[in-house]
């Protein structure tokens, strides 16, 4: 399984890079801003790690760059790749229009044809076809850049997209876990310090501690006492509620 792990490493590297760039621009971001920045850099990194070979990765970048505030970040992260990408995306836009017009034509023809031959068998199959078409429409909405693809390439892109999403989720989970543990560790040490050494002067300790959101600290202590065994997303849920 070398390909997925290399993809993951690439993704991680680029994501961290993106995070740094995001963080350097604005200080003291709110929770939502941070979350948006994290997600954006994760998506961009995922697309970047794919080297923009797939359609969805290019579409992802295009969507991300539509908003002005994100555009700058994206450009910074990508660097030179951005310009190259823009050039290639222009060509794909023309293809999209052509595909779309062709589909409108096809759709109108099939509707006429179906109405004329109204045997029961044909109706049943047409219902099935309509179901499939509905679902493919939904899928097209989900996969970035899917609107302008025919069914066959849509499936291929979906395959790739699912694969990359899984890797992304995996990396993010590990990262979240690691940071959670290290935070817990820190809290643990502080707690122990507090418990053991009340007599010593810990002014500096309180200063350090004060930099953390206090609620998180308190809750993490609780978690520590409960035990580290339950490291599931559930604990993450609790953390998130705070801010």
């Amino acid at each position: 399984m070398s390909a997925p792990s290399t993809f993951k490493k690439e993704f991680l590297k680029k994501w961290v890079l993106g995070l740094q760039i995001c963080g350097s621009s604005t200080k003291n971001m709110s929770f939502l801003e941070r979350k948006k920045a994290i997600k954006l850099s994760a998506d961009v990194a995922m697309a970047y790690a794919k080297d923009f070979k797939t359609c969805w990765s290019r579409a992802l970048i295009a969507n991300a760059s539509k908003q002005d505030d994100n555009k700058i970040l994206v450009r910074n992260i990508l660097g030179s790749e951005f310009e190259r990408l823009k050039k290639s995306s222009i060509g794909s836009k023309m293809c999209n229009k052509r595909v779309r017009s062709k589909k409108i034509l096809k759709r109108s023809c099939t509707i006429l044809r179906i109405r004329s031959t109204a045997t029961r068998r044909v109706l049943a199959s047409s219902i099935a076809k309509r179901l499939v078409k509905e679902r493919t429409l939904v899928l097209k909405g989900l996969v970035p850049g899917g609107e302008s693809m025919d069914e066959f390439s849509l499936l291929k892109e979906t395959l790739d997209y699912i694969h990359s999403l899984r890797a992304q989720v995996d990396v993010m989970q590990r990262l979240a876990y690691a940071s959670q543990l290290s935070n817990l560790q820190l809290m643990n040490t502080f707690a122990n310090m507090k418990n053991d050494m009340r007599t010593m002067k810990f002014t500096f300790v309180t200063c350090v501690v004060g930099s953390f959101p206090t609620r998180i600290q308190a809750r993490k202590l609780d978690q520590h006492t409960r035990g580290y065994v339950e490291r599931s997303n559930l604990s993450g849920n609790e953390l998130i509620i705070f801010e």
Binding site: K8, L17, S24, K39, I162, D196, S211
Partner: protein, 400 residues
């Protein structure tokens, strides 16, 4: 000639009187990649109850030089067929997963049909084989014959076609072969077949059919190719999406895929929220510790490493806003964070809280510190410095 396979399979399905019906057909379509399937068809014919007929057939074919030539020509491109053909009389049943079951099913049904007039079957079969060598012609004919069962054309037409094949030019037949190869009749519409059946009766039906077939068959050919590609992709997706094994229809599969993609996207959102909550500042670079070992280490990192109590507790937190930490070769082994949990409350605990400055000497600083603490297990005693407000420029070490 993998393209020929589904058609020959359809053909066999036909011989068995469409006993299997739709599921087998679907399977056959999906398995069209396997060249083994050629062998399964031969297998069918080589079952013991049909051994005599097989022998007859083989003799027939071997005796007829022209037919053999035709057979060889059309078999050149298919190594599977080539391998199969010499061993005609003696096949092991190939183990190709479902293909074996389907071939077995076909076997039973064929043995059943064998009890009916054997001559017809022989005639059918030998024309089957010759047609298979021609790759599509006989199948078409048989499928069309379905509409004309009452008219008793089977033996007649079979004989006719066989004779025709033998009599006709090798080139002509070959060109038809290639044409038929191109026009894989794929239309399942009975109406189309009915319209084509009338062609069968005409003396030079081959030409007429080819011409007409070309008009419609190219569409159906393309449609068949497209459908097969889509079903292949759906198979891959079935493997990728968990819990899709039981669902067979396209609509259901698409539903599952949609659900899965949505859940993955939601997971990403959720994890990004979690990370935002966990880290007060976005540039969390303590994870760079794990970057090098994230994947191997995470497997075994959480069982705790038992370290001696003298070993300093390493609460390395680095708040590192402006640095390219990724590139800063952090090659040191990080003690798994769980180590802190096992820290005993005995003598020496060294806690190092280090504020990293965006400076180049950070690296060397850190490394030296690290070396001193971990690798040598020394619990250093550092004087605690007065803290000046923010965590900007203080090395904070405390010994207890």
């Amino acid at each position: 000639m993998n393209r020929a396979l589904p058609e020959t399979l359809h053909y066999l399905e036909y011989i068995t009187g469409n006993v299997m019906g739709a599921p087998l057909k679907l399977q056959q379509q999906q398995q069209s990649q396997h060249s083994y399937l050629n062998e399964t068809q031969f297998n069918v014919f080589s079952l013991p109850p049909q051994a005599t007929q097989v022998q007859q057939l083989q003799d027939l074919i071997n005796n007829d030089s022209e037919v053999r030539e035709l057979v060889n020509q059309s078999m050149k491109s298919d190594p599977g067929l080539e391998n199969g053909w010499p061993d005609f009389g003696k096949y092991p049943i190939p183990r190709t997963g479902f293909a074996t079951t389907s071939s077995l099913e076909m076997d039973y049904s064929i043995s059943r049909t064998c009890t009916s007039p054997p001559t017809v079957v022989v005639a059918e079969r030998d024309s089957v084989l010759t047609d298979k060598m021609a790759s599509t012609i006989g199948r078409e004919r048989f499928r069309k014959r379905k509409a004309d069962k009452a008219q008793n054309p089977k033996v007649v037409v079979a004989e006719d076609t066989r004779d025709k094949r033998i009599k006709g030019d090798a080139e002509e037949v070959e060109s038809e072969v290639t044409e038929q190869n191109n026009n894989r009749e794929t239309s399942a519409d009975k109406s189309k077949e009915n319209s084509m059946v009338s062609e069968v009766q005409k003396p030079d039906y081959i030409h007429v059919r080819a011409r007409r077939g070309q008009a419609t068959d190219s569409h159906s050919l393309a449609e068949r190719v497209r459908r097969e590609k889509i079903s292949e992709r759906m198979k891959y997706l079935q493997d990728l999406v968990p819990g899709c094994n039981k669902i067979t229809g396209k609509a259901g599969m698409l539903d599952e895929i949609i659900n899965y993609v949505q859940s993955l996207q939601r997971q990403v959102e959720f994890l990004s929220m979690k990370l935002a909550a966990l880290n007060p500042r976005i540039e969390l670079n303590m994870d760079n510790f794990f970057a090098k070992e994230m994947f191997p280490a995470f497997m075994g990192s959480f069982p705790t490493v038992g370290n001696s109590s003298e070993m300093g507790n390493s609460a390395f937190l680095q708040f590192n806003p402006m640095q390219q930490v990724v590139t800063c070769g952090l090659d040191m082994a990080i003690n798994p964070p769980d180590m802190a949990l096992r820290r005993t409350t005995s003598t020496s605990i060294t806690i190092t809280l280090q504020q990293v400055q965006p400076s180049s000497h950070w690296e060397t600083d850190l490394q030296s510190l690290y070396n001193s603490e971990f690798l040598q297990g020394r619990s250093a005693a550092f004087p605690s410095q007065p803290f000046t407000g923010a965590l900007e420029a203080n090395n904070l070490k405390m010994e207890m």
